[in-house]
Amino acid sequence: MSNILECKALTKRYGGKEALSAIDLSLEPGRIVGLLGPNGSGKTTLIKLACGLLTPTAGGIYINGEAPSKATNAIVSYLPERIALPLWMTTQQAMDFYGDFYADFRRDAAEDMVSRLGLELRQTIKTMSKGTREKLQLILTMSRAARLYLLDEPIGGVDPATRDYILKTILTNYSEESTVLISTHLISDVEHVLDEAVFLREGSIMLHESVDTIREEKGKSVDELFREVFAC
């Protein structure tokens, strides 16, 4: 089975600081993978490189065998860590926008989630609360039938009820053939949805293992292992 995401000796430096140090990583289709690590470990950098928002200093990153490009953007659904939707847009206009640019956008799924959330179609994003904006952005991201979902801190900075909503939305909207890469440092909240865990520390991969293996062989939860590995 071909890898949906592959990093080969991927390195990224910001000035003199190395954010990613020659990492090798392969992700197969149909997996939910947790990209776990403390702040500044390189999680966001890796996701931005996969989206083409950054260019590698050395090595390469490949989506479905291709370097990030217009073609790979068509199969990757990206949730940035900040609100990227224009604030003047209404819910309706945001859905129109996604529908115009993404052939895989499932309008009916988006409308269904928007209506269940009780969002007004004519409400502008500017007038929404932070949590509601994040939910809308997640709905739009997960309403695409993408091959790869890159979710950067989808549950950071929201209340526990919203976290549950977000994780439920991810689980109920991704297809079996798709891969979901979730970056977070809130391990206990996402652990139950993960198939694999990747531990990043100071730009290097410390561990890449299936969650079942971690539990069976190490006799620990991912959260416990994370606390042990990253103990200060």
Binding site: T55, A71, N73, L85, F97, D100, F101
Partner: protein, 265 residues
């Protein structure tokens, strides 16, 4: 995708641009009425003072349409490609050329629309104020037609191309400056100044190269030549070539910074 990008670009910039144009047109109607009332009554009271304010506001709205739309377009570019919205726009299945060209084409359409609407608002003032009556409209059109006929079509074409090229260059200069300074995390003002100096030097080089090329007779087979010399007799064409070469140069500088130094770090 270019058409879709342009549609959303119009939607985003039209939120401010259209009301600005609407206000200018509405004020032109009111200003015309005020001038008409003045011609009926020359006493200076509070109504006349209010009228002066309205005419001042109309003048201000003409200025706002000219300058305001330019500022709106530049701010939108910065926010849309270099700010938070860049995370959405630059992960769309489109390339940097499509993103840049959609913004440039929409900006040019706005510039042309704002000039036409400003001229229209001026005509509205003239007609409503009674300075020119509808019965005299035919005469006014004759004057305009004569004015147009006194200049040949080729000169009008050159003037139009010069306007489009000039506005494109101005817009692209701002695009390039924003893209370049954004790609550095420190000393943005310093880099901005350096960029302007480098650009002026490059423009001079293009001008020198261009002039040397035409003076050497390179353009003669295309533009024709006479005894007074190709360079002197084809100044307009030389200027246009220089202008559009500069546009291409600045366009690719912007493109390169957006593609290879996408500082959304």
């Amino acid at each position: 995708m270019l058409g879709k990008l342009m549609k959303h670009e119009f939607r985003a910039t039209g939120r401010i641009g259209l009301p600005l144009c609407g206000i200018m047109m509405a004020l032109s109607v009111v200003a015309g009425m005020v001038i008409r009332l003045w011609s009926d009554n020359l006493e200076y009271g509070w109504r006349e003072q209010a009228g002066s304010i309205i005419i001042f506001l109309y003048g201000l709205s003409v200025f706002a349409v000219g300058i305001g739309i330019f500022i709106v377009l530049m701010q939108h570019y910065k926010r849309n490609l270099l700010g938070d919205e860049g995370y959405l726009m630059r992960t769309l299945p489109v390339n940097i050329h499509e993103l840049l060209l959609s913004k440039l084409f929409v900006a040019l359409l706005w510039y042309i629309a704002s000039i036409l609407l400003t001229m229209l608002s001026g005509l509205v003032v003239v007609f409503i104020s009674g300075e020119v009556k509808l019965s005299e409209f035919g005469g006014l059109m004759d004057v305009i037609r004569d004015g147009l006929a006194s200049t040949d079509a080729y000169t009008w074409l050159c003037a139009f191309l010069a306007y489009i090229g000039g506005m494109s260059l101005l817009t692209l200069l701002f695009y390039a400056d924003y893209a370049m300074t954004q790609s550095f995390s420190k000393h943005k003002v310093l880099y901005s100044v350096i960029f302007v100096v480098v650009f002026i030097v490059l423009l001079r080089l293009v001008f020198w190269f261009n002039s040397a090329l035409v003076a050497s007779g390179f353009g003669a087979p295309y533009f024709g030549s006479n005894e007074s010399g190709v360079y002197v007799s084809h100044g307009a064409e030389v200027g246009l070539i220089e202008l559009y070469l500069s546009c291409v140069l600045v366009y690719f500088i912007t493109w390169a910074f957006l593609k290879y130094k996408p500082n959304l770090e």
